[in-house]
Symmetry: C2
C-alpha cells in the first residue's frame, strides 16, 4: 500500500498529532482525528488540523489503514491491548511514543491482523496542545523506527514513506537500545533541567532576589522543566533503570568538577572543560551539516 | 557629569564591549575602543563598532572620563592595579565582569583619583567576537551594579545613566551576595551543561549513534557548554566555593530523583516534578512581565 492510498487516523490531536495531521494533508487518501478530550478534538477541528475530529475511538478506527498513536506512552500502553478487541483493528499501527521498550512489548501481543511498528520522532517543543501544531515540526528531525520481528516489509516501507512525508529522516534502531541511548540525550537533560529549577527555587526561599538574576543561561538550561508532566512521567517510569543510571553518572561528574574547583586544580579543569567545549562544538557542526536548526 | 558629556573608552571589543559601543553611539561626547588583540581591534573598527580602535591602552585611556572594562574577569584583575600607575587613571571605571567579589576587592586598591564601581550585565550569547556585537544586546536585561564604600554618588548616577542608555535595568547588589546568587542562576547552569556533554560524549565512545539521537532538548540544555572557555574559567576560579556548593546540591538532587525512580515512588515523583514545573512556569511569567525574550 502506498501512503497516498492510505486512510490515516491520528490518535491524539495535541502538538505532535496535530502537527502530523497538518503535514500529511493532501498526501493521504483520507485523514481522521480522534482525541479523548472533547475540548481538544473540537479545537483541533476548528483550527483545521484535521477535516473531522471525534472523541469516539471506535468510529475513528473503523476502516482505517494506518493509525498513528500520538499520545503519551501511558495512553499508548492503555490503548494497544484494546485494538482488535473492543476497538476495530487497523491494518497498520505506528506510535510516536518517547520510549520504545514497553510499547514494542505491548505491540508484540496485538492480534495477528494488525501490523505494528514502533516510532519516535525526535522533535517537539514545550508548548502543548493543538494550537501549537505546525506542519514543519518534523522537518529535518530524526524519526526513529523500531520494528518488531512480526513487522512486515510492507509496514516498514509505509512507515518510511510516512516519515519522509513529514519531512523527517528514518533511523532504524532496536527498541531497548533506543531507550538506553535516549536516557543520555533526552531524559537526562530533563532531569538536569528540573534539578536546576529545584536548586534555584530553594535558593529563592532564602533570597527571593535570585529570580531577578535568572537570565538566558538559566532559561535555556531549564527549558525542559516546562515539558508536559504526564508525558515526562510516562517516559521516566518506562525507562527507570537507564534514566537513574544517567542521573547518577551526571551527579558523579558534578562532584568531580566540584572537587577540581575546591582543590584549585585549574589546569586540569581547563583541560576537561576544553574537551567538553570541543564535543559540544562537534554536535553543533553535525547539526548544521544535517540542516537542523 | 552627564553621560552625554563623557568621553568613554571601551576596553575589550568582543561581543560585550562591541555591543556597548554600538548602543552608546551618539549618546556620549566621545567614544574610543581598545583591544589587546590587534586583529579584534582592526575588525571592530572595520565593522564600525567604534569610531577608532587601538591596541594601545595608555593612548586609549588618556583624557578619558569613563572606562568600561568589557573583558573576562582575569583580564580585569590584571588591568585594575595598573590604572594610575603605568597607565593613565580614568575618572570613573565600571567593569562588566561576571563575578564581582574579586573585582571589587581589586577596585578598593585603586588610587584615590579613580572612582570605581562594579557592574555585571546579565545578558550575552555564546557567539564571541566583534562580529556578534549588536546594539540591542542589553535591552531589557538586568544590569547589576555593585558600588564600593568609596564609590561617589556621582559615579553611581553616571553608571545608572549608562545602564539606561544601554536599554538595561540597574539592580544594586552587594558584590559577595551577587556572586553567591549567580552561582545558582548562572554558574550552576554552565556546570550542568558541561556535565551533560561529558555524559553524552562518554556514551558516544561506546555507541557513536548517540549523536544522531541528540535533538533540541540536548541542544538547549547543553548550550552553555559552548561558552567562551577563558571567561568561564575566570568565573569559576573567582567563585570557587559557591559554585562547588551549587554543583554538590544539584548532584544530591539528581541522586534523590534516581532514588525515587528506582523505588518506583511515582506518586512522590509526580508531586515533586509538578512543583518544579510550577516554579519554571513562574519564571517564564515573570520574564514575560518584564518584557524579556
Amino acid at each position: 500500500m502506498r501512503l497516498s492510498e492510505a486512510r490515516v487516523t491520528v490518535v491524539g490531536l495535541g502538538l505532535m498529532g496535530g502537527s502530523a495531521a497538518l503535514a500529511l494533508r493532501g498526501q493521504v487518501a483520507a485523514l481522521a482525528g480522534v482525541d479523548a478530550h472533547p475540548d481538544v478534538a473540537r479545537r483541533a477541528q476548528a483550527l483545521g488540523l484535521v477535516p473531522r475530529a471525534t472523541t469516539d475511538l471506535a468510529e475513528a478506527l473503523e476502516g482505517c489503514d494506518l493509525t498513528l498513536l500520538a499520545v503519551p506512552v501511558g495512553a499508548i500502553l492503555d490503548l494497544l491491548p484494546r485494538l482488535g478487541r473492543d476497538l476495530p483493528a487497523p491494518r497498520l499501527v505506528l506510535d510516536f511514543g518517547s520510549t520504545k521498550g514497553a510499547v514494542v512489548r505491548a505491540m508484540a501481543d496485538l492480534p495477528p491482523e494488525v501490523d505494528p511498528i514502533g516510532g519516535h520522532p525526535l522533535c517537539g517543543k514545550e508548548t502543548p496542545g493543538p494550537e501549537a501544531a505546525e506542519a514543519g515540526l518534523f522537518r529535518g528531525a530524526t524519526f526513529v523506527l523500531t520494528p518488531l520481528e512480526r513487522t512486515s516489509a510492507a509496514a516498514m516501507a509505509l512507515a518510511e514513506d510516512l516519515v519522509h512525508a513529514l519531512g523527517a529522516r528514518p533511523l532504524y534502531l532496536d527498541a531497548e537500545r533506543h531507550d538506553h541511548l535516549l536516557a543520555w540525550t533526552s531524559h537526562l537533560p530533563y532531569l538536569l533541567a528540573v534539578s536546576l529549577v529545584a536548586c534555584v527555587a530553594r535558593a529563592a526561599e532564602r533570597e527571593p532576589a535570585v529570580w531577578d538574576l535568572a537570565a538566558s543561561g538559566f532559561r535555556d538550561t531549564s527549558r525542559l522543566a516546562a515539558s508536559d508532566l504526564t508525558m515526562m512521567l510516562d517516559i521516566l517510569r518506562t525507562n527507570r533503570r537507564a534514566v537513574a543510571a544517567a542521573a547518577r553518572a551526571a551527579a558523579a561528574d558534578l562532584h568531580h568538577l566540584a572537587d577540581l574547583l575546591e582543590a584549585s586544580q585549574d589546569g586540569r579543569l581547563r583541560e576537561e572543560l576544553g574537551c567538553r567545549w570541543e564535543a559540544r562544538r562537534g554536535f553543533e557542526v553535525r547539526q548544521r551539516a544535517g540542516g537542523r536548526p
